[in-house]
Symmetry: C2
Subunit: 271 residues, 2 copies
């Protein structure tokens, strides 16, 4: 076990540091991000991600998973802090703080880190602005056995507190890559002929019904920005465009919803 | 056209009133809620919901739909206000305000207002706490041609700014009812034999694969609270329990995602 250091003041530099990681600019500068909750941190540990810094609320219930977490942090040479729940709440910005939070190093999010043959399904989000949608897509990716989430163009930060929370731990189990469209598209086509990849999007133009569509692995399911959808040129670059029934007045689904309905259809095709 | 009244000060009582509707307590007291955006307000108008009070940003682009909206408000004896964009931003709490916002009377949300035979699919949310999830479910309901969304037990407020926004106008096209479980369950079983209704939930207990499950209309697709899921007794009361593939570490989907994947499966069954 690592020795625990007790922190009492809001002005403590470590508290300030942790709290600062709620800001994107600061995360980028430090290459670190915050995650909270015993279950989420356990998912992280079990998939090889140990926090550099672990903050525990004083007075929390003992738990074997918490012991395991603390031991792992100690083994990795990390630091364990104890602080009052009210102080931890200020760190995480949540009224009802989880009894534990950790600071992690951000992952490498270049396309080179992806092995497209490692999974049949990949999710792709273009200019997705809502960190909650982004986290939900990671969670859905985990559920459908996707390899990861590729963030194309200017997306929300996957390491934001909101995205990490909404991912429910899938941030640690899904691969994440970030790239401008040209780079992603070049990477995708690079593998053509050998491993390649099928780029699929929901579209109203030149599309086939999503149900029973000819999906092939590895299948890259792409959704666009919440307000604007995908640029026409990106849709045109897809190998397959599919339509989903829209029985009401609206002509689109929430981006994370569309990705999930499509991904489950792809999963069924491959089973 | 209604005569436009120009409002300049933040301390104006109408501005204060509109702004106060961002608070649940105040919405409840006044029986009024806020909605914003020309497209959303047009959806409202075209489905018979005209705002009592319409606020326009000065300097916005003219638009035939805005003219139509203004005319409808005038015809209905409502009021039209003009205010600086910065002031409207304070009303809606959004940095980039839509150029138009309206105050609507809340709808009757008792179960009696629902005609279950009017649609084959209904969505049901139990103790759903996230207004964004709630709005997304309304939007999904619109897309699958559901009749509406039934909020069981203590759910987020469907008239909150976040829920209205996330619904993308479906708040006005979907029926909404609120009831404690006992009341909902009694209402559902009331119709049995004649119109009745099949209550369906995703579950890990005594469940069949969701794909190709024997859904029957009217089908009530129920999801539970974001953290706790459905109470066991509610699951047990379902007519059909279905499982969805979970290929990763997580054992559940986001509630709105689960509802959507199930609802699209039900839709396919009924087509």
């Amino acid at each position: 076990m690592a020795e625990r250091r007790t922190i009492t003041g809001f002005s403590n530099p470590t508290v300030k540091f942790m709290r600062s990681l709620r800001e994107k600019k600061q995360r980028k500068r430090e290459g670190r991000f915050l995650a909270e909750g015993l279950r989420l941190l356990t998912d992280a540990r079990e998939t090889g991600h140990v926090p550099e810094l672990l903050a525990l609320a004083t007075g929390r219930e003992p738990h074997p998973l918490l012991d395991a977490l603390e031991a792992a942090v100690g083994d990795a040479g990390g630091e364990v802090l104890e602080m009052e729940p009210a102080l931890l709440a200020k760190v995480t910005g949540k009224d009802n703080p989880q009894a534990v939070a950790g600071v992690f190093a951000e992952f490498d999010t270049t396309l080179d880190t992806l092995d497209r043959s490692s999974a049949n399904i990949w999710l792709v989000a273009q200019a997705l602005r809502d960190p909650g949608n982004l986290g939900t897509m990671l969670r859905t990716g985990d559920a459908v056995g996707a390899g990861g989430l590729i963030l194309v163009d200017d997306c929300a930060d996957p390491f934001s507190v909101e995205a990490v929370r909404a991912s429910m731990g899938a941030l640690f189990t899904q691969r994440i890559a970030r790239a401008p469209w040209e780079e992603f598209h070049a990477w995708l086509r690079q593998g053509e002929g050998e491993t390649g990849g099928q780029l699929v999007a929901a579209s109203l133009r030149d599309a086939v019904p999503y149900r029973g569509a000819p999906f092939t692995a590895p299948c890259f399911v792409m959704v666009g920005n919440e307000s604007r959808g995908l640029p026409e040129a990106y849709e045109a670059a897809c190998d397959l465009r599919v339509t989903m029934p829209m029985k009401g007045r609206a002509d689109s689904l929430n981006a994370a919803i569309a990705a999930a309905v499509l991904a489950y259809e792809v999963l069924d095709t491959f089973e």
